[in-house]
């Protein structure tokens, strides 16, 4: 728990907004080899599910709700993610540099 707490303080935070079933920004730039806290702010009234197979992440975000997902540390590369409830429009990627 101590490790988790101290690591949490160090993790840089990024914000990902969901609006009209789209991700803003659709590309998140993340430093390599570091854990990152992503605050997902769903501004739509409908729920969405943040999902990424390469990142091994999956989480439902009810409408008009905020949530947090931690990712990494990651190797440089591109890691696509999508909104499982509205996959036609809700697409994005994490670019690790």
């Amino acid at each position: 728990m101590l490790i988790a707490t101290s690591a949490r303080a160090a993790a840089p935070e990024l914000t990902l907004v969901i609006r009209d079933h789209l991700f803003f920004p659709s590309t998140l730039e993340v430093p390599a080899g570091q854990k990152v806290r992503i605050l997902i702010d769903n501004q739509d009234p409908t729920p969405e599910e943040f999902e990424s197979y390469p990142l091994n992440r999956e989480k439902v975000i009810p409408g008009n709700t905020k949530t947090v997902v931690f990712i990494g540390p990651l190797q440089p590369g591109e890691y696509p993610f999508f909104g499982e409830f509205y996959p036609k429009t809700a697409q994005g990627k994490v670019v690790v540099k």
Partner: protein
């Protein structure tokens, strides 16, 4: 919208449907021919499905609140807790299916309650997403019909897959059915344990552990086979060390039950 609904709902239904089939197939092998075992009546299974559906509706309703707990990782924490209780429930169920009957005949309460806990929580976890999804869709009138049709089709496919698995399992001889069924339950427990680790890592309640291997090239998680294997035994193309260790630990826990050992004698 139709196809999205089919895929989404199928993913959620499949795991619970397959688990239910395996549990039923194992239960079908209980009886006087297997020392100290006794069958559970189907009422237990029916009750578990009903409580599961209520649980799912309740969890979906509470989701906006739960999501904000523990600095926005409440969903992971509660889900992880449910996974752990499912593992404990599976263990208790396998243990009591047998030992209960060693005593004088009476109601099969222990094994039945464990069964209800396992199935209720499995349906609660997965079903809540379906309730949330459908509830969101209702706000978009043009999407309602295709989404509901998709949900119906997904329900049909999920239940058919469960029935197919059940009859494939009980088609073998009693001892083989029991062995395969119990091994599948052990793998399922492993799956639950690995998912617990994943959830706690996602919530930053557990430290990151290195990835063990990457079999994306062999079998992607989003292929049909990958999805089926994910639902049945928790197939993961890129598991972490902690996931693998917890998977094996939970498998061994189930394998330590007398029923499991007896089936291989």
């Amino acid at each position: 919208m139709f196809l999205v609904a089919v895929i989404l709902i199928l993913q959620e239904i499949l795991e619970a449907a397959l688990l239910l089939s395996v549990l039923l197939a194992v239960n079908q092998q209980m009886g006087p021919h297997l020392a100290g075992t006794r069958k559970l009546t189907l009422h237990w299974y029916a009750a578990a499905i009903v409580t599961g559906i209520f649980g799912a509706a309740l969890f979906a309703w509470a989701m906006p609140t739960v999501s904000e707990w523990f600095d926005y990782v409440g969903q992971e924490v509660i889900n992880a807790l449910m996974h752990l209780v499912v593992i404990g429930g599976l263990y208790t169920h396998c243990l009591l299916l047998q030992t209960n009957a060693r005593q004088t005949p009476g109601p099969h309460i222990g094994a039945g309650v464990a069964l209800i806990v396992v199935i209720t929580l499995s349906i609660t976890r997965e079903g809540a997403e379906i309730f949330l999804y459908i509830n969101g869709i209702i706000g978009t009138p043009t999407a309602v019909t295709p989404a509901l049709l998709g949900a119906g089709l997904a329900g049909g496919i999920g239940i058919s897959a469960g029935i197919l698995l059940y009859y494939s399992l009980v088609g073998f001889s009693r001892v083989v059915t029991l062995r395969i069924g119990l091994v599948l339950l052990a793998l399922f427990a492993g799956n639950m344990a690995a998912q617990t680790i994943l959830l706690l890592t996602q919530a930053d309640w557990m430290p990151y552990t290195p990835q063990l291997w990457d079999t994306t090239g062999l079998l992607t998680e989003y292929s049909v086979t990958g999805q089926l294997l994910y639902a049945l035994i928790g197939y993961e193309a890129t598991p972490s060390l902690a996931q693998a260790v917890s998977y094996v630990t939970a498998m061994l826990l189930l394998a330590s039950t007398p029923l499991f050992r007896q089936s291989w004698r």
